[in-house]
């Protein structure tokens, strides 16, 4: 029986093509492959399930064994955050035209290229920068590429990063920085345990003439806003190093853009801009800089630029600086590029366009206020405290040390109540003891926080 996915899997179609191609047996076409190369045993995958209903039922039943953040109350963040995705974002993400294409000409892909340009333009507006590449795989990947850009620009092989960095993101950065003789050394600067911010004195001590870049984040991985970002950039600049700021784009209606505190390169995650959690499959990383040749020449990414067409006054969008990518120059190009997260790029553009200046200002206020509210209320639970109870955005560290319970115990008990407690920090940040990183966004209501606080009361008292 013909397979629905394969129009030519009918005897008629195959016979017609074989006739024209002059073969009588399909196996003749594989003459190139020596017999000794053929699979020793047939592929044991079973026959295909032709009925879509059966495939769907089977996969759905597996998926239905998952507990989602919709029917549970979620306080996990730490690199992937639950924000509200406007329905229009889903509508555009599901458009076949954007979902399935590969690559056309600037004319045949005009609409998608325009959407990409609108992504870059709006993201550039958020971070206050004029040159924006198409995104890479993740925040960690973006930071990794940015550090490599800085290393190429400065000819130096050291990067200073904060101790508060997400260990997962740091692991990606380390992989990008490499191993062995040519590796970029990763130097960790301490944070001030009283404030959760970078210890500027330690930073100053660690930045020197070998430093290619200082990489820092605000808010940092533990939620704390680096109030003295200008000083960080000043220290880097003072030693001829590049300043790379990692930022959360959803904060930038409320917080200063990195361009204003001296960042040379801004990176971050695009996931907060209208992309579902997707079990971590919604992440993407942006890279933005000033529009200076010095930076532009180091981008490993593709990027679209406005350009003229043969018709006066008409605009098209084409790839700029293609030759410096791996597609253009193989190993001579900057790092490498390939398929990335370009469908999300279109959705990011939609999200930013929907939000506009007021939306970003409001969502920043709401997230700051909601997370502050939640922190204050969580802090009322006996034995539970908030490590840095002010100056944070969206995420904050909850300290369970005084409860005598481990985060593992707390989170298990919460999960039994339909609550996903904050990310356990006890392994990654042993100096914090039994602490967890809670994420509160615009999706949380007063009732949600009450539910959390009640549950914590029970759990701690139990």
């Amino acid at each position: 029986m013909a397979h629905p996915y394969m129009p030519n899997s009918t005897p008629d179609a195959k016979a017609a093509m074989m006739r024209a191609a002059g073969v009588t047996d399909v196996d003749e076409l594989f003459e190139q492959i020596p017999a000794g190369h053929l699979a020793a045993e047939p592929i044991a995958l079973g026959d295909g399930v032709r009925a879509e209903a059966s495939v769907r039922r089977r996969v759905r039943r597996l998926l239905d064994r998952n507990d989602s953040c919709v029917e549970n109350l979620n306080f996990l963040g730490a690199g992937c955050w639950q924000h509200y995705v406007p329905a229009v974002c889903d509508e555009i993400a599901s458009r076949s035209e954007f979902l399935t294409p590969v690559w056309g000409t600037p004319s045949s892909d005009h609409g998608r290229n325009q959407a990409w340009f609108e992504y870059a333009s709006q993201l550039g507006e958020l971070v206050g920068m004029d040159f924006v590449g198409l995104p890479v795989y993740s925040w960690g990947a973006a930071a990794g590429h940015a550090i490599r850009m800085a290393a190429r620009m400065t000819g130096r092989r050291e990067v200073v990063v904060p101790a508060t960095l997400d260990p997962e993101r740091l692991a990606v950065i380390r992989t990008y920085c490499g191993e062995g003789a040519e590796a970029i050394a990763v130097v960790v600067a301490r944070h001030d345990p009283d404030t959760g911010r970078l210890d500027l004195a330690d930073l100053e001590a660690k930045v020197g003439d070998a430093t290619a870049a200082v990489y820092f984040e605000t808010p940092n991985h533990l939620g704390v806003v680096e109030a003295d970002a200008d000083a960080v950039a000043r220290i880097a600049r003072g030693q001829g190093a590049e300043t790379i700021a990692g930022v959360d784009p959803i904060s930038l209606g409320l917080l200063r853009p990195p361009s204003e505190y001296g960042a040379d390169i801004a990176v971050g995650s695009t996931q907060p801009l209208g992309i579902h959690l997707n079990a971590g499959g919604g992440v993407g990383g942006f890279i933005a800089t000033r529009d200076e040749e010095r930076y532009a020449r180091e981008y490993p990414t593709l990027q679209v630029s406005l350009a003229d067409t043969k018709v006066p006054g008409e605009r098209a969008f084409g790839m700029t600086l293609f030759h410096q990518t791996s597609y253009g120059s193989r190993e001579e190009g900057n790092d490498w590029t390939g398929n990335s997260v370009y469908l999300w790029t279109v959705v990011n553009a939609v999200y930013m366009a929907l939000m506009g200046p007021r939306g970003f200002a409001e969502i920043g206020e709401t997230i700051a206020a909601n997370s502050a509210y939640a922190a204050r209320r969580v802090g009322t639970v006996p034995g539970v405290s908030v490590r840095w109870p002010s100056g944070f955005f969206k995420e904050f560290v909850v300290d369970f040390n005084a409860t005598g319970r481990s985060v593992t115990q707390v989170n298990e008990a919460l999960r039994a109540r339909g609550i996903f407690g904050g990310k356990d920090l006890s392994t990654d940040f042993p100096e914090l003891g039994q602490a967890a990183l809670y994420c509160v966004t615009e999706i949380h209501t007063a009732d949600d926080i009450t539910a959390l606080v009640s549950a914590l009361h029970e759990v701690v008292a139990a």
Partner: protein, 498 residues
């Protein structure tokens, strides 16, 4: 329809969406010093207008709505059932840090799909962390680094060997990982000779990274010897399976001796390409290399499935487990296809290519790469318009532009380096009907005739698209390129109402 930029639309005070108000006004506000004071010059557009704008842009993207025989990329049908599955809360609204106990279904799918790919490749384990084929190649470069480091040979083993017909991501990721790249040229048989390989292999060899068959549809029949040669010298062998479609079900990478391979789920396994991601480069390796894989690995235990860090492995190439929605779609596709469907897809894909070859070579001016080689090509063939261009002045890019006027999306020319002049590489795969393939060929023949009769008509194409041919002059000019509207306005020093 000339659709203005979203930044040019709207008006003061318009709202596209409104976030929830705060639970209570922030008592403990952030200090003034960290707050934005510069107004955000983002568009202010109402929701229906934002929606309509992007709907229109979608309609201005031809993609797979026309006919797209884009080669080297294995464009195929993306079953919509996968989209419906991926849209379910039980996948779209799963947080990557959830407890394993709450994502057992997802982990089971990851594990089951790993087993499927093991069956297709003979490898010992797959991971899905890499966000594309290039990232999977980078995984291999990192695994290679870690492998040699573990043996104390990293300082010595500096060379990664590849071929001119290997995908650019192989040399590029090897170089990014700190290796020296040796690229073997293609020789008379359509691939580098074994002697050429032997000449460069030695104790400096870290790895071989290679495609087979390559983008010309040529299979290197000496590939087992290649692997042996590299192995004998202590190097690892990586099989970039970008061109798997023609050999699916017929060969297994591990049986050919490879240590690792890579499958692109967004191409070969039916997940959509999204115009360039989200994608997955599934990286698989033998049990010997498993200790070097980046964690977390998904393992089955008596108690169920769990994510487990891989001590001593490459830390991470990307956060989290990977683009799992694409894994779920690929899993559904593989279930639907089965062993029989996968084998049939390879057959049809190669048959369609040979059918195309018969018809294409009948068009005056179309020649085939390495045309002295008589063996049948696999799922694609690289052609050349070199003679035609010399005759008419009309290039492959011109032809490409003009074909879009007939609802045929751009074909792929060739990856760098171009080995044949004015190359083009169509690929029908198993997803396009014979009628569509015939239409595509008819359009090509017609456009080539147009180019003979009226070269300027083709050179100035397209004529029926949303916008005319791009003027590429400004794209690499620092004074004129503009990747953002901010940059454009600054460089063009003109007042534009946002």
């Amino acid at each position: 329809w000339d659709q203005p930029l979203i930044m040019e639309q709207g008006g003061p005070g318009r709202r596209g969406t409104v976030p929830p108000a705060p639970i209570e006004t922030a008592v403990d506000a952030l200090p003034e010093g960290v707050r934005r004071t510069t107004p955000l010059a983002l568009p202010e557009v109402a929701e229906p207008d934002v929606l309509r704008h992007y709907l229109r842009l979608s309609q201005q993207t031809m993609g797979m709505i026309g006919i797209s025989l884009f080669g080297t990329c294995t464009m195929k049908y993306n079953p919509r059932v996968g989209e419906l599955l991926a849209a379910r809360d039980q996948l779209a609204e799963i947080h990557p840090h959830q407890d394993d106990a709450s994502v057992q279904g997802l982990l089971e799918i990851v594990h089951e799909f790993d087993l499927m790919l093991r069956e297709l490749s003979g490898m010992g384990r797959f991971i899905f962390q890499a966000g594309g084929g290039a990232a999977a190649a980078y995984v291999h470069a990192c695994v290679t680094r870690a492998y040699h480091e573990s043996r104390g040979e990293l300082e010595r083993r500096r060379d990664v060997i590849t071929t001119a017909q290997a995908h650019p991501c192989n040399p590029a990721t090897a170089a990014a990982a700190g290796f020296n790249v040796i690229t073997l040229p293609v020789e008379r048989d359509g691939y580098p000779s074994l002697d050429a390989l032997r000449a460069v292999v030695g104790d400096r060899t870290a790895a071989l990274m290679i495609n087979n068959p390559d983008d010309m549809g040529i299979y290197n029949p000496h590939i087992k010897e290649w692997v042996d040669v590299v192995h004998e010298a202590g190097g690892l062998c990586f099989y970039d399976h970008a061109n798997f479609n023609g050999v699916m079900g017929r060969i297994r990478a591990a049986e050919l001796g490879f240590d690792a391979c890579m499958f692109m789920l967004h191409k070969t396994f039916g997940a959509p390409k999204g115009g360039g991601g989200p994608a997955v480069g599934a990286y698989g390796c033998t049990p010997e290399l498993e200790p070097f894989l980046p964690g977390p690995l998904v393992v089955r235990t008596d108690a169920g499935y769990e994510r487990r860090e891989n001590a001593g492995g490459v830390g991470r190439v990307r956060e989290f487990l990977g683009n799992l929605p694409q894994v779920v779609k690929a899993y559904a596709w593989t279930l639907a296809m089965g062993a029989d469907g996968i084998r049939e897809a390879a057959d049809i894909s190669v048959l369609a290519n040979n059918y195309m070859e018969t018809r294409l070579l009948a068009i005056p001016g179309v020649t085939k790469s390495f045309d002295h080689l008589t063996a049948r090509r696999l799922e694609m063939t690289r052609y050349s318009l070199g003679e035609y261009t010399e005759e008419t002045g009309v290039t492959a890019v011109d032809i490409q532009n003009r074909m879009t006027d007939y609802g045929v999306d751009a074909f792929w020319l060739s990856h760098e380096p171009w080995i044949v002049p004015e190359p083009f590489t169509p690929e029908a795969g198993e997803g396009w009907s014979k009628e569509d393939i015939d239409y595509w060929i008819d359009v090509l023949a017609h456009v080539m005739e147009e180019g003979r009769a009226d070269p300027e008509l083709v050179r100035s194409a397209p004529h029926n698209q949303v916008v005319a041919q791009i003027d590429t002059a400004s794209l690499d000019d620092p004074a004129r390129w503009a990747t953002t509207w901010r940059a454009y306005r600054r460089k063009n020093e003109r007042e534009v109402t946002a």
